[in-house]
Point group: C2
Chain length 500, copies 2
């Protein structure tokens, strides 16, 4: 970037430094912090986030922003300078409406809420968590009240996770998605016996699972000099700055896909962070913009690569070798694609996953608009879960308490997961056109060509483009349901030996 | 604390929050961060430290300070309120003389320097480290130039680590200490064969050493709910806030005392952090003031407890049990007290340790005053080492590159280690008078009475008192050489079976 945005960049660089510190405070809280450190951690996060907010929304940032804008001199919209001014202006205008005290309090309540959630989830005790959720919703409503000109409260929240996306667009996509998934799941249910996933269940020592995961993520692009992998209750990925990407997973000794696919998922996120162009670093463009696009990366690596026939054969060989029991490629491939309604979102199959999101999308709209009381949430969850999945939720740890999001104040975040699936479907389609021998490469364990394609088309751009702009560039249109459903029907038809 | 200091406290609380974030950035850099994350980490630390500095030295802090001072109304000097005003005024007056840019740059150079040092030490390559040391010294001189009214440059630096202490006082104490140690070491050298430490050398798997350490620090007061222990190249202890104390150690598979006594040492530091009174937290009083007093805690636990006859018998039983080879209590006791000149300070015995410090105290005075050039430092180190210890330094990793301090800009820090020994001697003496059955308790593995005595007399006060003030309160006089030397002569006389 040139002289034109020099002063603005300098100011933004400090904010990046502080945000990296904040990322570390969060990472540590979920991986290393002793339990009793939670109160002080919430204070640190709240104070730091408050300062970041205050620093960003200051008149000085606004002045430097307008100075830079005036100097753009018709730089093309896709140039780094124009994108910087555009993205910073959007964020600044939005952030300025939020008082620093509220920004700080949102951060504190999120930190405190997560601590409460961890304990409540272990004990499956929703009532212990309810006051924290109540507080987070109250703050979310205060946050929404800072804005105007939106169709509904949920639009404001959604826009934080996928700028430019609206509740109406999501609802439309979800109606279409659901209309495809429900009959698909019903058809497969009639052929449930066609897939046996018993090879995934057994006794898999964590130490060996770690080796399985390390070999796999190394193939994806994880290197010891700039990545870490740790354990976390709720797996996540983060970056503390260039050269420092951190992923997490959790282990189930009786079911190895939990750790393996969790790690591939987070490594997919990590590759996005790792792939942002060096010249964008130190500015908001050096971060990511749309969590939907972010999720498209994690889910592509987890599902389209990790559960696709070619790379599943690579994994089958690795599993056979490490656990000492031969697993045939086809058996592995079919087993990891078994479709079966289940309780836990992060372990759901690709077909039922979307319904988990639809459920949350509906409930959180009702919560934020006050149409559903926190006290009534478990009952609402359980009855709707029964309706969508045909299952009775055994206790809240398998239901409403399973996800970290609401404890951390992340209302409006869930839809990005399903949008990520749709975007992944569109990118997967496009990547196959650009890399004709992609399937053969994946079958040979050569993951670099796909990673480099993603880096070129997605990762390197950081936050330059919204999901809408990015999709226009890469696939020539907005987020759509078609390619994901076609992909899913082709794979599951193959797996179940039926026409879908 | 009362209403009188309420507003000042609120402002200071934010600074504590940010300082805790800074502590985490440092801890992570030395324990978890991937190597390539170093550059961004240095930026984060520099920006955060710059903001902390700016926030602290502001006119607003000064105004609240004077308001609080005016409201003290004759509160006694040992009251929390009076101490808060006194300590904050001292720090504020000092910090105000330092421009924020310099504070930030000192933090950045320290972070960058540490990264360079880690690599240089591995390769024993002083020339790769020299430019960073040069830069740190240059910044230290700039820092010194912010002050006036001191006898010598070194006084300014020393005062940061032990407020009120002067180069002249340290020099006087060190002359006396050296005059005691040199003949003591010479006498013991004539009886070197009296102690056999071969039981300490062998093959000790790290996993078993970890159990040895965990059982030992648990007895000291380490609990899983508010402590962590990790590995680090250069062991240290830190606290990220109340309920979050972190210690580190390093492992030598061929020599278990390295990990064990390293951990006891750092746990001693951790107990100090853990023991600060809750009502002082969130203010500068909730930190510690004198690194000399801090070091008295770590060295008391490492040496006076850990290498004393009573607790050495507890350790002997634990070692026997874990490693499966019987070690007699007396054999263990004598082995861990073997006196022998050696290269590495942190592994030096109690008698030669002081000479390691004297060496560094002399060299860093010469460096800071420009009487010794960085390029000539290795040669100066090696020749003086030969003079003091009679040993030829094999390479710089065993010499001038062994310590992290200079890489992190910590010039003036080393003397506090030897002062810590002296203070520990005085406190050990006093604790024995207050707890008549102390030796029996230690022999029974009951460490809580000593810990609680230290908490009552030292820990809970946090930063309320300087080392001088604290020693006046606890032992009725200033730091002195006598008690430490008496303790050492009694123990080593016992160990070597000679009159010292």
């Amino acid at each position: 970037m040139t002289e034109r945005v020099h002063d603005l960049r300098n100011r933004l660089r400090e904010l990046t430094d502080l945000r990296n510190a904040s990322h570390l405070l969060h990472w540590d809280q979920q991986t290393k912090m002793p339990p009793r450190g939670g109160a002080a951690r919430a204070d640190s996060i709240a104070t730091l986030e408050g300062m970041i907010h205050e620093h960003f929304v200051s008149e000085e940032t606004g002045r430097l922003l307008e100075e830079a804008a005036a100097r753009l001199n018709g730089a093309p919209p896709e140039s780094d300078e124009a994108a910087l001014v555009r993205v910073v202006r959007r964020r600044w205008s939005k952030a300025r409406r939020v008082p620093s005290e509220l920004a700080s309090e949102l951060a504190r309540a999120a930190s405190v809420g997560q601590e409460a959630w961890v304990a409540a989830r272990v004990n499956s005790d929703f009532s212990a968590f309810a006051p924290y959720l109540e507080r987070n919703l109250e703050l979310a409503r205060e946050y929404v009240a800072c804005f105007d000109g939106y169709d509904c409260a949920y639009d404001v929240l959604l826009d934080d996770y996928d700028p430019g996306m609206t509740t109406a667009v999501v609802a439309g996509l979800f109606v279409e998605l659901r209309s495809e998934l429900v009959p698909l799941i019903a058809t497969i249910a009639e052929h449930a016996d066609a897939v046996d996933d018993s090879i995934l269940h057994g006794d898999f020592p964590v130490a060996t699972q770690r080796r399985l995961v390390c070999e796999t993520v190394a193939q994806m692009g994880f290197t010891d000099d700039s990545w870490r992998i740790d354990d976390a209750v709720h797996p996540f990925a983060t970056s503390i700055g260039p050269g420092d990407v951190r992923i997490t997973t959790r282990w189930d000794e009786a079911y190895f896909p939990s750790g393996l696919y969790g790690a591939m998922h987070e490594c997919g996120h990590g590759l996005y962070e790792d792939g942002i162009a060096a010249e964008l670093r130190g500015t908001p463009l050096g971060e990511t913009e749309s969590l939907a696009v972010h999720e498209s990366q994690s889910r592509m690596w987890e599902n389209m690569v990790g559960r696709g026939a070619p790379y599943a054969s690579v994994l089958a060989a690795r599993v056979s070798n490490l656990f000492g029991t031969p697993v045939a490629p086809g058996v592995m491939y079919r087993a990891v694609n078994k479709i079966q309604p289940s309780y836990i979102r992060v372990e759901a199959d690709e077909a039922t996953y979307g319904l988990h999101i639809v459920l949350r999308f509906e409930l959180e709209q009702e919560l934020i608009e006050g149409r559903l009381a926190v006290a009534d949430l478990p009952e609402a969850w359980n009855s709707r879960f029964k309706e969508y999945f045909g299952l009775d939720v055994p206790d809240d740890s398998f239901g409403v308490l399973q996800d970290v999001h609401w404890s951390a104040g992340l209302v409006g975040y869930f839809p990005t997961y399903a949008l990520g699936n749709l975007i992944a479907g569109q990118l997967w389609d496009r990547a196959h056109r650009d890399i004709p021998d992609l399937e053969q490469l994946l079958g040979a364990g050569e993951l670099a060509p796909l990673r480099e394609w993603l880096r070129e088309h997605i990762h390197r751009h950081g936050a330059k483009f919204t999901s809408r702009e990015l999709m226009e560039r890469v696939v020539g249109g907005p987020v759509a349901v078609g390619p994901f459903v076609s992909y899913l029907k082709a794979k599951l038809g193959d797996v179940y030996g039926i026409k879908l």
